[in-house]
């Protein structure tokens, strides 16, 4: 029964989504509020329906219903229940349902808001969100159905169909193939859902942008409504990326966290446009500029989100040619092409209505620096896009496929990221409208001097790597500038309000959540940059075959091989687990357990590191090889990853910072525009 219930609910949800598109269009055309209301209600039906479908799918996954092909492909009897549930998004069909389920939830949340002031947007927001939803549901129903079952014909062939073909019997495999061992990790609980949450929530600002273009109500209203959506989307997408990096670091056993493969880049590209969008909408809000640009950014973000959803789940590993391997590839490219062309056509139609209200005058004004920041983010996007399509282009032009690997991305993006960091130091100090080198210099010289002194210290300490010196200087500069700005503002408040320092600091953040939350985001980014510089530029590694009791030395650490054991684990693994002790200067620090897991169902091994983490570095020990015949010896590989933990710490600060920036501010709900935000004065101008 469960497959029929799940599939039936999918079909109903699809029907409801299509109906809501049609009713909203008709209601808008004939100015019939009742039709629009019926569209809204129909859209509200989709989430409960998809929840029924999702629960059915989870029921099938958890109960080992291997007659369902999706269940057969992504689960096996030996998997723990939590992994069977997460297998929901462990394959393409299920993750499309998951995407649609999130989309329906967000669309419902949006349609439930108060629309009194924005009634003209409502039908179009419904049209955009429901069309997107219907597209995904259509794919699920017509191409990638997770509820399809196996049937055996009289001749013994097994076919895969939703409903029983005549003359066949149900076919139930004994056990499933099981989730790819790489995915059998608690990271599976957080990484894909966060990424998808980020993807899906970017649809909402896009829907409002389209409503703005279609209705011609081209004021900043859509940006005010969607500001918080955008922040949440950005938070989820950023965290999805960071958790993915951490997961790779913990299970892939190569001492790295990011490999510039097409799937990673696909998730990174909407982040780049989203980040640019987040900054440039501020210019529209405060100066009435860059309106066309913002539209273009949100259109790009939306289509990159759809592209990313497709790519992250299509099994593409290393070859862009693998696009074609997925049956749904043409549908995705068609949808992306159609929405992009339609959106850009709408943008051109409203081009004149979106002209800037003011002209950019000074190259050092905050809006000019923000524009530069946008251009740099877009440049990184172009680099990424070029890297992904270059093999196709080269083959088309020369007949020879030429690819570019991580060195390309590192080389091409490093100067751009350096530029972005330099802007993070300058832009918060510059004023709207007009700034001069003199005012900027006055605000920056103290932190800049300190940053130079720190860099000089590193140089005297023996650091000669130019990239590292520039990188650490920029990290120090941005951090110090930001902290100095916060400190100055707190001091000013402390004097004016006669408050103790900490209270003044707390109230400063509480009263200006956007600004200071934003500053904190910058600091968290610098923490992450510190970790990335550390591991990218100063990673060292060594390997050795040891007898029990022997040690391996790396960067002042001593790793002693104590013992090893091989035993079966209840979840269908055979575990080979070594025990090693970590010493530094003769002092015992920790015991680590690097191990090799062999999964019987997948016939695949996983090499799981033992890690000893401090703020200064990470010692990452891999058990490379062990032969039971020569039980004495085992081979280890050890990585020393300086500063890498700042990457993960930075992610935690990042979450806190976004919570501060996105938390509703009581005053703001009453006043649509806060006077303070329209002020052309720069931060800390009170002193």
């Amino acid at each position: 029964m469960l497959p029929e219930i799940g599939f039936g609910a999918l079909v109903l949800a699809f029907t409801a989504a299509v109906y809501s598109v049609l009713a909203a269009l008709l209601g808008e055309r004939h100015q019939r509020a009742d039709l629009v209301e019926s569209a809204r209600r129909s859209q509200l039906l989709t989430w409960p329906l998809l929840t029924i479908s999702a629960v059915s799918l989870i029921g099938l996954l958890v109960n080992n219903r291997f007659d369902v092909s999706f269940v057969y492909e992504v689960t096996s009897r030996s998997m723990p229940t939590y992994l069977k549930i997460t297998a929901w998004w462990g394959g393409q069909a299920g993750s499309l349902v998951f995407w649609a389920w999130l989309m329906a939830a967000f669309a419902s949340l949006v349609t439930l808001r108060k629309w009194d002031r924005d009634a003209e947007f409502l039908p179009w927001v419904i049209v955009v969100t429901s069309t997107t939803l219907a597209f995904f549901l259509g794919l699920v129903i017509f191409a990638e159905n997770p509820f399809a079952r196996y049937w055996q014909t009289m001749s013994g062939d097994v076919v895969e169909r939703m409903f029983r073909p005549a003359g066949t019997l149900p076919f139930v495999p004994q056990d499933g193939r099981g989730l790819n061992p790489l995915l059998r990790h608690p990271g599976m609980i957080v990484h894909p859902p966060l990424l998808y949450l980020g993807f899906v929530s970017f649809v909402i600002p896009y829907a409002f942008a389209m409503a703005t273009l279609i209705t011609g109500r081209t004021d900043d209203r859509w940006i005010h409504i969607t500001r918080r959506w955008t922040l949440w989307a950005w938070l989820f997408l950023s965290l999805g990326l960071v958790f993915g990096a951490r997961w790779a670091y913990d299970v892939l056993g190569w001492g790295g966290y990011w490999g510039w493969d097409p799937v990673e880049i696909a998730a990174f590209m909407p982040w780049l446009t989203g980040t640019a969008f987040l900054h440039s909408v501020m210019i529209q809000e405060k100066r009435g500029m860059l309106k066309q640009w913002n539209m273009l950014l949100i259109i790009l973000t939306y289509d990159l989100v759809i592209f990313g959803t497709f790519l992250t789940r299509s099994g593409v590993l290393s070859s862009v040619h693998a696009f074609a391997q997925s049956a749904i590839g043409p549908a995705f490219f068609g949808f992306i092409g159609l929405t992009f062309v339609a959106s850009v056509a709408l943008l051109l139609y409203r081009w004149n209505a979106l002209r800037a209200e003011a002209e950019m005058k000074s190259m050092l004004s905050r809006e000019a620096l923000f524009l530069l920041n946008n251009l740099l983010f877009l440049s990184v996007l172009i680099v990424c896009f070029w890297g992904v399509i270059f093999p196709l282009l080269s083959e088309l032009v020369t007949g020879q496929k030429v690819t570019v690997g991580p060195p390309f991305y590192e080389r091409a993006t490093a100067p751009l990221f350096a530029g972005i960091m330099a802007l993070m130091a300058l832009a918060p100090l510059s004023a709207w409208g007009k700034s001069t080198w003199k005012t900027l210099g006055r605000a920056i010289w103290k932190p800049a001097l300190l940053a130079l002194l720190i860099t000089l210290g590193l140089w005297l300490g023996g650091m000669r790597n130019l990239v590292a010196i520039i990188g650490f200087f920029l990290v120090a500069l941005v951090t110090l500038v930001t902290l100095y700005e916060i400190w100055r503002a707190t001091r000013a408040r402390q004097k004016a309000q006669k408050e103790p320092f900490l209270i003044a600091l707390g109230r400063l953040f509480a009263r200006n959540r956007r600004r200071y939350g934003g500053y904190l985001v910058h600091i968290s980014m610098m923490m992450m940059a510190l970790g990335i510089l550390g591991i990218e530029l100063f990673q060292s590694e060594t390997q050795a075959t040891l007898r029990v009791g022997e040690s391996i030395n790396l960067s002042g650490y001593q790793v002693r091989y104590d013992e090893i054991a091989r035993f079966p684990a209840p979840d269908g693994r055979e575990v080979t687990r070594a025990v090693v002790s970590v010493y530094r200067d003769g002092k015992y620090l920790a015991e680590l357990h690097p191990r090799i897991d062999f999964y019987f169902d997948a016939q695949q091994t996983m090499t799981i590191p033992g890690q000893y983490s401090t703020l200064a570095d990470d010692l990452y020990v891999l058990l490379v090889d062990w032969q039971p015949v020569s039980a004495e010896q085992a081979t280890f590989k050890v990585y020393h990853n300086p500063l890498v933990n700042w990457l993960w710490l930075g992610a935690l600060v990042f979450i806190a910072a976004i919570l501060i920036a996105a938390w509703p501010q009581p005053e703001m709900e009453v006043l649509p525009v806060r006077a303070a935000d329209r002020s052309p004065l720069r931060v800390g101008a009170s002193d």
Partner: protein, 160 residues
């Protein structure tokens, strides 16, 4: 006046990005070749930065944990995806490549931990260079085992 200033600034950025992309592409470009193409080009590609795709032959995998030296052979598989599809999908193509003794083969040497996915009939995508001894020295191995993901239906009637 400010307009021209911004225009010039924008053009400068554009030029800088174009230069960055072009120079990095030249510096990091890797020819993506099949085993047959490597054999055909021979000495022409020795020492060049290459990316080669092939099917791993399980029997040839040798690993010395003392030196971390991994050697194995790969058999030619077509590079064009349409061709792969026409021959019944990646899994079938890999299987055919490994079982066909007439296919051209390439010996690969890699120093490092043995990758978890290295096994018979896996697709290996190797980055590295061809030595004058005709051996491919890989710096990076990417492996995938398509059988696990792309098989349409279970092969044998176990249930029922």
């Amino acid at each position: 006046m400010p307009r021209t200033k911004f225009l010039i600034g924008g053009l400068l950025i554009l030029a800088a990005v174009a230069y960055l992309i072009a120079s990095s592409t030249v510096a990091a470009a890797q020819y993506f070749l099949t085993v047959d193409e490597v054999k055909a080009k021979g000495s022409e590609v020795i020492g060049k930065n290459l990316r080669v795709s092939g099917a791993v032959i399980g029997d040839t995998i040798q690993y010395d944990p003392q030196t971390l030296k991994l050697t194995f052979e790969v058999a030619h598989v077509p590079g064009d995806n349409k061709e792969v599809e026409a021959q019944g999908g990646l899994a079938a193509v890999l299987h055919a490549a490994v079982t066909d003794p007439t296919r051209s083969r390439l010996k690969v040497v890699y120093i490092g931990p043995k990758p978890d996915l290295l096994k018979n009939e896996a697709q290996a995508i190797m980055t590295g260079h061809l030595g004058s001894d005709g051996v491919f020295y890989a710096d990076e191995l990417l492996l995938k085992c398509p059988t696990r993901y792309e098989e349409a239906v279970p092969q044998q009637a176990q249930g029922n």
